[in-house]
Symmetry: C2
Subunit: 348 residues, 2 copies
């Protein structure tokens, strides 16, 4: 690390997207007089009769959830994408559009309404991972589905409309912008070095140490050098694999363990149920080979200073590019100083 950069406004380069992020380390002392969010206390009821994701309850569609005991998935009642979109290719001068097919699913992580990933047992998180694996493979082998996006929006501040522990999967025929960007970078590096750029990056980060959050036999969690969100993190498998379907049994368990550890740290940071959007980036399911790709998961949490003050990605960020105040190293340091036990379970 060039320590001069700790006090100087600078840009950092994202090796996966080819884009830059503006870092203003001197700006952490800015007072906040703007909007604050409600702080969320942990839920306590294991079952909520009005929750449309709890076992046995009726959904808006009129369908009834089974009395599920394990992770449960179903087709989203308000899917953004539909499997039967007619094929349309439209071009009229500078107007260009095309129809898009897809399948959107909801994945309930647990029947227990009160839980979240950091509060779940490792063996139950492993079941969620197995479900993601199964969905990736099933959706991915469906005719016309060329890409599968697994993600979780956690917390009302992240547009999540139901606190029951759940994530979503949107799968579709075209390959989205963010994946195309990363594909280019993975490929360029592969062609030059016949190595995964993420394997080499991981090696360098493990050597440097200062941005590492957690490590086990198969996975590493870290704050990427080019993090945009204040406490953005990445989970990267040590083995160079292209998609979640390639995980071995022991890798699944190691993945569950590191997911739990990272999300406990998050909750402990501001002693709140920490909001974020997380997502898995992996290869398209269009049947092409992508030896260069390296599957990984990212967390984009909006909170900046407390359970109620978030970072706004607005004016400058929308029109120019992302900006952050604290550095990636400062964020890693803060998370690493926290207890590994969830604050709600710490004996006092």
């Amino acid at each position: 690390m060039n320590t001069q950069l700790n006090n100087t406004p600078h840009r950092r380069y994202n090796i996966l997207t080819g884009e830059w992020i503006l870092v203003s380390p001197h700006r952490t002392k800015r007072p906040w007089q703007g909007k604050t969010e409600e702080s969320k206390t942990l839920k306590t009821e294991k079952y909520d009769p009005s929750c449309y994701l709890c076992p046995g309850n009726e959904r808006t569609s009129g369908e009834k959830n089974p009395d599920y005991k394990e992770p449960y998935s179903f087709v989203n009642d308000f899917s953004s994408l539909l499997p039967d979109a007619p094929k349309i290719d439209f071009q009229d001068g500078l107007l260009k559009a095309e129809s898009e097919k897809g399948i959107c699913k909801v994945v309930c992580f647990s029947p227990d309404h009160s839980l979240t990933l950091p509060l779940m047992k490792v063996e139950d998180i492993t079941k969620v991972i197995k479900m993601w694996k199964k969905e990736y493979q099933e959706l991915g082998s469906t005719e016309g589905i060329n890409y599968v996006q697994i993600f979780e929006n956690k917390g009302a501040i992240m547009g999540c409309s139901n606190p029951h522990p759940h994530g979503q999967i949107w799968s579709q025929s075209s390959i989205p912008t963010e994946i195309l960007k990363k594909s280019t970078r993975f490929k360029d590096y592969w062609e030059q070095h016949k190595r995964s750029i993420l394997s080499d990056y991981l090696e360098q980060e493990l050597e440097a140490g200062e941005r590492i959050l957690e490590e086990n036999d198969h996975f590493v969690a870290l704050i990427p050098y080019w993090a945009v969100w204040p406490f953005e993190a990445m989970i990267i498998p040590k083995r160079h694999i292209q998609h979640i379907g390639q995980l071995s049994e022991s890798e699944e368990k190691a993945y569950a363990e590191i997911l739990k550890k990272l999300t406990i740290k998050y909750d402990n940071l501001f002693e709140t149920s920490f909001p974020y959007s997380s997502g898995i980036h992996q290869i398209p399911t269009d049947g092409e080979e992508y030896p260069e790709w390296h599957f990984h998961m990212s967390f984009y949490p909006p909170l900046l200073r407390s359970a109620t003050v978030k970072k706004f990605m607005v004016g400058y960020e929308m029109f120019a590019g992302p900006q952050r105040d604290i550095t990636a190293e400062q964020a890693a340091k803060r998370l690493n100083e926290l207890s590994e036990t969830h604050y709600s379970e710490a004996s006092s």
Copy 2:
């Protein structure tokens, strides 16, 4: 317009960024059970003793604002960018960073605390435009400043920490991501057609009519075909000019008029002081020629269904790409049905 697309999930192509946006027109009936925002009533006090932007008041820096009567600008007390950053170019394996110089300014639009653009007189909005012009030219000709981003964050929901009518300008040495994307597209089109892509697009939109919001002698306001935010709009000068400094007196006035009309429509939509981030995209000030560029302004407003329900750009949007529910044509139709008089001034 291909009317089949009105009911079919589809992607639209953004001719300025080369990126796609997912449109789900069938999804407008989705019930909303998630987070709602506070609805904002209009301010009434013309002067707020606790506002650090009101004339005569003291700022956090200890400095005192002059008793200004016209738009007033000053260097941001908590600038993200600083003019005296030492030159650092850092590369260590896959870590890459460089220092960034810049100047951040705040522009108070009016001494009157209670106003916003839609409530200001056209002649006073013209003064704001003259101030933007002056700042663009002065900052742009400063040594080491190669790009000037003019923007406004309006409303607490857009991270704005003070309701006094104001915008910001962040100027810097490197050219930001969003500008680089657009430069590529402007240039490609110019090389093929020796025309501004926006001039041709404007011609096509005026012909089609269905996405036009306002038009006068010199400017057009419209919902772009590829709009991302529910009521996103663009203001485009009819004359192919590269930057705000080229505006004639009559163009300045026409710009002020269309700004007022568009923002009145916005306020009238949900009878609220309508939040948004707006920004001007124009050529870098690095001394290069950019004959292909066409200056324009965009508005990114977050509200979707009411003064309290916004669109969240979260999970899928962050990991894959943007998604919207209502179409650009539906948004234009809704805005065009509204009165041209601000709801607070309508006689009842």
